[in-house]
Symmetry: C2
Subunit: 279 residues, 2 copies
Amino acid sequence: MRIAIVGLGLIGGSLAITLKENGFAKTIIGVDKNSESEDKALRRRIIDEALPLDEAIAKVDFIVVATPVDVMKIVLPQILDKVDKQVVLDVGSTKETLLAELKNHKNRGRYVATHPMAGTEFSGIDAAIPKLFDNKYTVICDAEDSDKDALEKTEALYKSIPMRIARLDAKAHDVHTAYISHISHISSFALALTVLEKEADEDKILELASSGFGSTVRLAKSSPDMWVPIFRQNRDNVLDVLDEHINTLSRFRSLLIKKDFDTFYKLIEEANSIKKILN
Amino acid sequence: MRIAIVGLGLIGGSLAITLKENGFAKTIIGVDKNSESEDKALRRRIIDEALPLDEAIAKVDFIVVATPVDVMKIVLPQILDKVDKQVVLDVGSTKETLLAELKNHKNRGRYVATHPMAGTEFSGIDAAIPKLFDNKYTVICDAEDSDKDALEKTEALYKSIPMRIARLDAKAHDVHTAYISHISHISSFALALTVLEKEADEDKILELASSGFGSTVRLAKSSPDMWVPIFRQNRDNVLDVLDEHINTLSRFRSLLIKKDFDTFYKLIEEANSIKKILN
């Protein structure tokens, strides 16, 4: 297959590495408004060539859009205007507003909305790594609006990695990702700020922090260029989850104030049941 | 050296493994009220023998107390009653109330208050692992209240691992650990509960969660038997930090409500500066 990757960052770059390595892609064409990212991707041999968007579209079987989600809203309609038999994918973390905008596009059928559930706290082509997606899930949204062949080809692409595939409608996808991804980022950003504000003048103290602190604030390193558009597009769902999270923290607070450590113990035991779900 | 480890859990067991492996300990005697933990530690050859507390005290150079912090308050005075030339250490996560209770003990000088800043979300002797402490920090509290030789021997023990050593007074230790350790645990417990309450009937959804979610809720697997006593003893400091953390989350909430994504962007950029501190 010939594949164009539009947006050479962590996700686009890692997909390029993986699909080339496993043989699914014969040729990878990179498209990025930032020529430095294109140059780096070429030098690292992550892509075979860099081309302007229109030239890339004309030469490939797949166009994978891996830009921040605000850019997707602009670039996906432009790409769909120009495709014929090609399959167009996005890999964005929000789906409802994007799919609403593409709903009536004449080439909507050529487009498959996907969300590979994997990432790291780093961004840009420098952060692209092999094996990022291995055995993780990709969610395909509103699959019934995609042409049958486009859907089959997309599933073949993800299965080649190998990834597992789940299907959700766009609305459910956005609700669930608010819970299982977006809130984790807000929690980390807030925890980092809380601690930085207190310990700002005492950087030696932060050297003492153990891996537990590192784990909970790891995502606080994530890029605002990627995340602000996600929070903007999924604002209502994120607000719901954030309200619930603040309420849960306030329960802990109120138990501490009342010195009700028996209930505190029970809440921790309930939280422990996350063990059954996560490894 | 002959070392008694009182409390054969994650920390006590991992210290036993490390100090035997590096040759600092010639003999390790395990003491645990749970005979199953003693048996497991013997079978894994983490300890050389298991003895009742009094017999162990009589046979060793060091007594390391690695029980939950509520048990320390009971057992440390009992141990200090019986020591002569031995050095007594604890490895607990809270120090102010414990040190206040031991302040006037006739053998206070034989005791060194330490806190090796390392751990995992797992507990019990099954969780004991090598290299848990390598190159991390140990905090020694109120060092001036320990005998000079006890302090030197304790530093030699930790340096043999090797660990780096920092000194803080007990009050400062408890304030800073609230920020760099205790709040991370409450944040994880709360996040796990928030998500579990929403997704309880949809365990397939949680399979979709990526490593970012796993990272922020990892500590939610931590044992209430260890953590409730810590929150009880460090309640006031934890409440202060929890208030600040809820305030920070409320700032994010208010920016979402106002759709002020420019300020949201700036807050994420500020949070990103945690990069400079954590690897």
